[in-house]
């Protein structure tokens, strides 16, 4: 069945990553009518598959001055507008005996030029402030690195876009681009939820599909040369380090260890892959070997730390237009006005860049959109806080002064995850405060909030919103509880069983490359519960 919806949006944004959500927010804040379409879920692509590092820019200071300067600027902005998604941990760039210590001064100079504050510190002091650091270090530089939760960041942007009137559609995959002669006028979508095709129309269509933007451009009849680069990462079971640890040398494989929420992660490897493999990411044993080997050099404790999962993301590298071979790659922000470039109006592409610069990318794209629509409004995304980021009156430390109220863990966790929006999560009710996910402290109330407010279609989406199933047990106890709650709200029990089976498979995929030790004990237990006792099958209907 085809549905044609007559309403014409000012802007249709394709892609629910940080860039798409950020662009939707910026456009909506400037008064445009916005539709955002995403084929799966927010932050399901490259956005959610990186370090979650709040770069200071120091990593690029020596090799890419422009990126470095962008990063530190955005870093400071995110601390302000997204403090509930950010942890201000600081970072160390350490020099190991095998590294050239003379690089340090070059590094510090380059940081200075880019506007990144650095402080050279004594190795002894480095060991003191970051006890997990490789004790053999011979030099350390402190930089304003931090951590950022890409799921929450993207969701906050989407939420703010919605607050400003944007319409958000997940589970809507672009299957065609509607054109009238040399003008793009809309998109044809497949709604995965109800298995239906629909069309939406807009004055400007923004391709913010990341690496998948290559395909979307093709649908529009233009070509962008993208080279997918796979980056693999490992998640460790708990926070080993308090500060971000980097190697003070030219960027290489697996040389960043980022503490984030309850875990820490090491990455990345970098490998060009064929475009047809971008939906088929897997982490090889070789990747795991490299990550552990290099990770242990940053923090030897990693050798004895449980690994929870491995995953890989795809960086969208864009070939410069004058060099289709891909040898000359632009690592910066790429904004393509297809009217100028290809003679196709109503269609722009925003890609390249990195998570850190999503807001800047959105600003540049929105500036171009506004110019095309003759809207004269300034960007305010750098000043206005994202929802949840307002200064909290009740910091976490105050909550702990009370003796156990029975719900402290879930309340503290919710506050940690949703910032001031946690006020929308009911608490104080014995039932609602019950923990669904015991590892990450996710309560019934938080699940309900996510289901009602945060565009949750399935368990995997719920995980991105709340961390259900992201802890040590990877869903062993909580998956079923959460599935039960989701099922209550959707009233589709049959679907919920498949959803549960899919969730277990999705968790399994990440565990596959690292399943040994406690991991294999745990997965056997999980199998006993779901297959043995419950009799769950991959296809229940």
């Amino acid at each position: 069945m085809n549905k044609n919806i007559s309403k014409e949006y000012d802007v249709i944004i394709i892609g629910g990553g940080a860039t798409g959500a950020g662009t939707a927010r910026d456009c909506a804040m400037r008064g445009l009518s916005v539709l955002l379409v995403e084929r799966h879920d927010f932050a399901a692509g490259a956005t959610g598959r990186n370090h979650g590092l709040l770069h200071s820019g120091a990593r690029y200071a020596v090799t890419d001055h422009e990126s470095a300067a962008e990063c530190i600027k955005e870093n400071m902005i995110l601390r302000r507008i997204a403090n509930h998604c950010v942890e201000e941990n600081d970072g160390l760039f350490i020099t190991l005996p095998e590294d050239d210590i003379s690089f340090q001064s070059q590094f510090v100079d380059a940081c200075k030029t880019a506007g990144i504050g650095t402080e050279i510190i004594d190795p002894d002091f480095a060991r003191h402030i970051e006890p997990s650091v490789n004790p053999n270090l011979i030099g350390a530089v402190k930089v304003p690195d931090g951590s950022v939760d890409p799921f929450r960041l993207t969701m906050s942007n989407a939420l703010d876009a919605r607050i400003h009137g944007a319409v958000l559609l997940t589970q809507h995959e672009v299957t065609g681009v509607v054109k009238e002669q040399n003008r793009v006028t809309g998109v044809e979508l497949f709604n995965h939820e109800i298995k239906e095709k629909v069309k939406y129309y807009g004055k400007i269509i923004v391709n913010a599909g990341g690496i998948w933007g290559h395909h979307i451009a093709n649908l529009a009849g233009v070509s962008i040369n993208m080279f997918p680069a796979k980056g693999s990462l490992l998640i460790f079971g708990h926070r080993v380090n308090k500060m971000v640890l980097n190697r003070c040398r030219k960027p290489a494989n697996a040389d960043i260890l980022v503490p984030g929420d309850t875990i820490c992660l090491i990455g990345t490897t970098s490998e060009r892959i064929p475009y047809d493999q971008i939906d088929n990411m897997f982490v090889s044993r070789k990747d795991v070997d490299v990550l552990i080997r290099e990770g242990v050099k940053l923090s030897p404790a990693l050798a004895a730390t449980r690994i929870l999962r491995a995953y890989a993301g795809v960086r969208p590298l864009v070939a410069a237009d004058n060099d289709p071979s891909g040898r000359s790659i632009s690592r910066g922000i790429v904004l393509l006005d297809h009217q100028e470039r290809d003679g196709l109006s109503g269609f722009i592409t925003i890609t390249g860049g990195k998570l850190m610069t999503y807001r800047l990318m959105a600003e540049e794209a929105t500036d171009l959109i506004c110019k095309k629509l003759s809207v004269d409004k300034q960007c305010e995304t750098a000043e206005k806080s994202l929802p949840g980021a307002e200064k909290s009156e009740h910091p976490l430390s105050i909550a702990t002064e009370k003796v156990y109220t029975g719900a402290n863990i879930s309340q503290k966790s919710a506050k940690d995850r949703h910032g001031t929006l946690a006020k929308n999560i009911s608490n104080g009710d014995n039932y609602e405060d019950s923990l669904v996910c015991e590892c990450e402290g996710v309560s019934i109330a938080e699940v309900k909030y996510a289901v009602n407010e945060l565009h949750v279609n399935d368990l995997i989406d719920l995980r991105r919103r709340t961390r259900v199933g992201m802890g040590t047990c990877q869903g062993e106890l909580c998956a079923c509880r959460a599935a039960g709650l989701l099922c209550e709200s959707s009233e589709k029990s049959g679907k919920a069983k498949d959803d549960l089976a899919n969730f277990l498979q999705e968790r399994w995929k990440g565990m596959l490359p690292i399943t040994w030790g406690e991991g294999i004990n745990e997965i056997q237990f999980t199998s006993w519960i779901y297959e043995g006792i419950y009799g769950l099958k991959p296809d229940n209907n």
């Binding site: 039960g484 099922c487 089976a501 968790r507 399994w508 596959l512 030790g517 237990f525 006993w528 006792i533």
Partner: protein, 413 residues
Amino acid sequence: MKFDNIIIGGGLSGLTCGIKLAEQGKKCAIVSSGQSAIHFFSGSFDLLGKMDGQDVKNPLEAIKILPDTHPYQRVGIENISRLVVEAPRLLDRAGLNFFGKADENHFVLTPMGIMKPTWLTIDDFTRFEQNDAFPWKKAVILNFSGFLDFHTLFVQDGLKKYGVDTQIKNFAMKEFEAIRRNPSEMRSTNIAKVFDSGDALDEFAQKVNQLSEGFEVVLLPAVFGLFTKNVALNLKAKVNKPVVLLPAIPPSVPGIRSQILLRKRFEELGGTYFLGDNVEEGTFKNNRLVAVQTNNHGDIKLEADQFVLASGSFYSKGIVATREKLYEPILGLDIDGDTDSEKWLDEKFFNDQPYMHYGVKTDSGFRALKNGKPIENLFVAGSVLGGANALKEGSGAGISLLTSLHVAEQILK
């Protein structure tokens, strides 16, 4: 410390073996590193539930075509036919009443509302004759308000396929307000403790009778009788219509009760159960294991004429996987499993996982192999044996019960 027999592992196979030996007058000890996997017991013991993905009707017949390497084939079909009669009797003597036939599977309802074939079912639970029908047409599914480990909607969905008209009702009772205050502890075992100690059962049964008016059958999570034996039966007597209990997320209430009763039986027969202790190493002499050293007892070694290894699979650390290799962590025995670690796992969670088949190598008499040679007085039983994916074929409990009885017979010969 000297015993006739020492069993490493205090789960279903260790206890079965220990009880059998102690019943024959042997002085036995069991060393168990913590509580066993009986704590996750579903309520039924499977003999052989599935073959090539299909339900097995007659497990005793179907066993005959299993591969030679399968533990059942190694025990021998004749022995199996005899031991399947003995196993429920041994359980019965421990106060555990199981019902079922080895030559005809019955079915139990899982928490997903699916009928699953099985061999023996404990008397708490209901046995069904058919896998495509439910004997009642109107059912009420009851749950304790806020108990997250029982999923009424999944049960309802399952029953819909059998044409059952169901209604879900949640209810609260003041006796559960205390645990309800704790956000993580509304667990089946904690609910069971309330029924164990207080007089909540009468009020509860009344409530069940009220809520089930107009229905033919009541479905409830299995949260009755943790440390006290007859709670489930008492409940059934007090409710004026059939009660069908369904397992909840582990730990399992009937499982823990079973563990306690089996241990009690073993101890009453004079057995010694060392809980929370680990065997750290063995002393071998001329292909015999003469003593084991444990963490708690240190230089006071535990000596025995025969030893049984019933230490379980990966979950129980009977077998350990590191990045590169598999090993048997207690005595360094030979492992039957792929040396190439990339072959341990299948990329689909629900596929037949190769690692599930792995176990300790033995000779034909279930003697453990170490460096290729059998240890004369060290027998292996239960899921540490390997040779089958017990989860896929529904044979875990059967393998545990029957191999351990068989091994006990070898020792008693």
